[in-house]
Amino acid sequence: MTVLLEVRDLVKTFGSGEAETRVLRGLNLAMQTGELAALLGPSGSGKSTLLTILGTLMHPTSGSHTMLGVDLTTANDRALTEFRNLHIGFVFQFHNLLPDFTALENVCFPTAVREGRETATARARGQELLVRMGLAERVHFPTANLSGGQKQRVAVARALMNRPELVLADEPTGNLDRASAAQVMDLIGEINHEEGTTFLISTHDEKIAALCRRQIVVGDGLVTG
C-alpha cells in the first residue's frame, strides 16, 4: 500500500475577529491507496470542511496538503481544477446532478468538460458505469425524473467517470431510505474492491460506517479516532 494523500497541521478558520470560528485545529490525516474509510463525527464537527479541503475546493488556513506526491496547499485555481478533474470524484448529499441533463450526460460531464465534447468513447464508458450501477433502463432519463437512490447512483457513476484515485462522498446516503442507502454502499464497496479506488465517506450513521474497513472520527477540529 502506498500513501495516497496526507494532510498535516490542517487549520481552517471561518470569519475573523469576534466572529472567528476555528473549525479544524491542526488536523493530521493520511490515507493509503485502496482504502474504504468512513468519516464520523457529530454535526458541525468539520467533516464537510475536511472533505472540501481534501477535494481541493477550498484552501486550508494553514497546514499542508499533498496527494499523489503533489503539494496542493498553494496550487492555483487552474492547477487545482485540472487535478480535481483527473484524480478526485465527488458525491454530495444535495444538489448533486445537473437537473436539465440526462443520467448519461451527467456521468459523461467530467470527461466531456476536459475533452471539450462528448466523445463516443466517453459515452460508452458512461453507459457501462450506469449499467454497473443497475441503471441500464435509466441511461437517457432526465435526472429530474429519477428517485433519490437512483440519483445517488448516477452521482457515484459520475464520480468514477475519469477513473479517479480518490472519491469523496459527503453524507451520500443521508437523504436515502435504508434499502437505497444499502444499495449505494454495496456498489461503493464493490468498486473499491474491484478497482482499488479509495473512498472517504462522511456519515453520522454507524451502520454505514460499519460497512467501511476504516473509521476516522473527527471532533474538536482534530482526528480523535
Binding site: 475546493l57 480535481r84 465527488f90 454530495f92 444538489h95 436539465d100 441533463f101 468538460v113 465534447r117 462528448e118
Partner: protein
Amino acid sequence: MLYALKIATRYLTASKAQTALLVFGVAIGVFIFIFMSALIGGLAEFIMMRTAGDMAHITIQAEAVDPALLVPQTGRTVLLVQEPTTQATAILKDTAAFLPLIAALPGVTGFSQQINGSGFLTRGAQVMQVSINGLEPGHESVIANLASYVTEGTANLAAGGVLVGKTLAEDMDLSLGQTVRLQSSAGIDAALTITGIYKMGSGGPDRRQAYVSLATARTLFALPQGVTRIEIKLADLYAADTLAPRIRALTGLDAKSWTEQAAQLLEALQAQAQTGYILKAFALLTIIIGVASALLLSTYRRRPEIGIMRAMGAGRWFVMVVIVSQGALIGLMGGLFGAAAGYGVLLAFPSRASFGPGQSGLPIDIRQGAYGLAIWLTTLGAILASILPARSAAQLDPVTAIGQ
C-alpha cells in the same frame, strides 16, 4: 467550446417560456431598431427625392464676366450705365474637350449640357415670362426625370417643339399640338409647337419653365457654339462634395456641389439621422440591460449547478463560455426573429417607388432596414451583456455555491 455551447443550449431549452420571453423582448428591440432605420432612411430618401432628387448634383455655370471698367480708379463713386448687349450670356466653350473627362469620373452617372436663359411665351394676347431650358435631345431626363412627369405628349424634345408645365398650360389655356411664340431675352423669337405637358408637383417649374431642344435654344440666344451650363448627376449624391473639387481641378471650371445651396436641408437631414441614432442606441441599450438582468437572474438560480460543474473539473473559463454563449444565442435568435418580423411588417408598407411626386404614404424604405447591422449589433450587445453575469458566475466559490 462545443461542449460549453451544448450546455448553454440546454439551459436555454430547459426553461422554454423564460427563453422565449427573453428572445421576444430582444426581438422587439431589434424590430424597433430596424423600423427606425427604415423610417429615418426612408424619410431622408423621401425628402431627398422630393427636393434634391431632381436637381443637379454638380453644376458648372458659365461665369458672367463684367466688362473691365475703362475709367481709372480714383476712389470716387462711379455711376455706370451698361448697354444691353446681344451677347448677354456667358458661355462654356469647347465642352467636347472636357466632357469626356467628367463622364469618365467614377460615380458620374450622367450629364446634361444646357443653354438657359429667360424669355416670354406668347399665345395670342397672352404673354408669360418663363425661364427657357435648352436641353440635348435624348438627355431630357438625365437631371430631373422629365419623362416621368409628362402627363400629355412626350418628353422628347424635337426641333420646333416646346415642353411646358401643367400650371402654365392651364393659365394660358394651352394644349398639345398648339403653336406658341417664344421670345428670348436676346430678342430673338421662334414659333414652337407644344409637344408635351408635364407636372412636377412644385410651383416654379410647373408655372415658369419652358423646355426646348438645345438647337432651338442656340437660335433663341444666338449661341452657335458652347453652352451656359453643365449639370452632372452622380450615383451617390453625397459624393458631390468630393467630386466637385476634382472636376474643378480637372477642368479649371467652377464646378459647384449641390450642398453649397442646400446646407439647411443637409443639416435637417443630419439632425433627423441623429435622432434616429439616439433612438436606435436606446433600443440596443434596452436589449443589453434586459439580457444582462435575465442572465444574472438565471445564473443566480443555477449557482449550485455551477458549483457542481466546478467541482467536476470545469474551469472558470468554461463557466464563462457557458453563460456568454447563452447571451450570444439569445442575441442571435432575437436578432433573427426581430429582423424577420421587421422585414415582414415593412413589406406591408408602400414600396420606395411611391416616394415619387404625387404619391402618398409613410416614407418607409424596406431596403434601409439595416437588418444585418441590427442582428450583428444585437448579438454583440447580448454578448457584452452576458460578460457581467459570466464573470460573477466564474468567480463563484464552488463550496458556497453547492451549499446553497
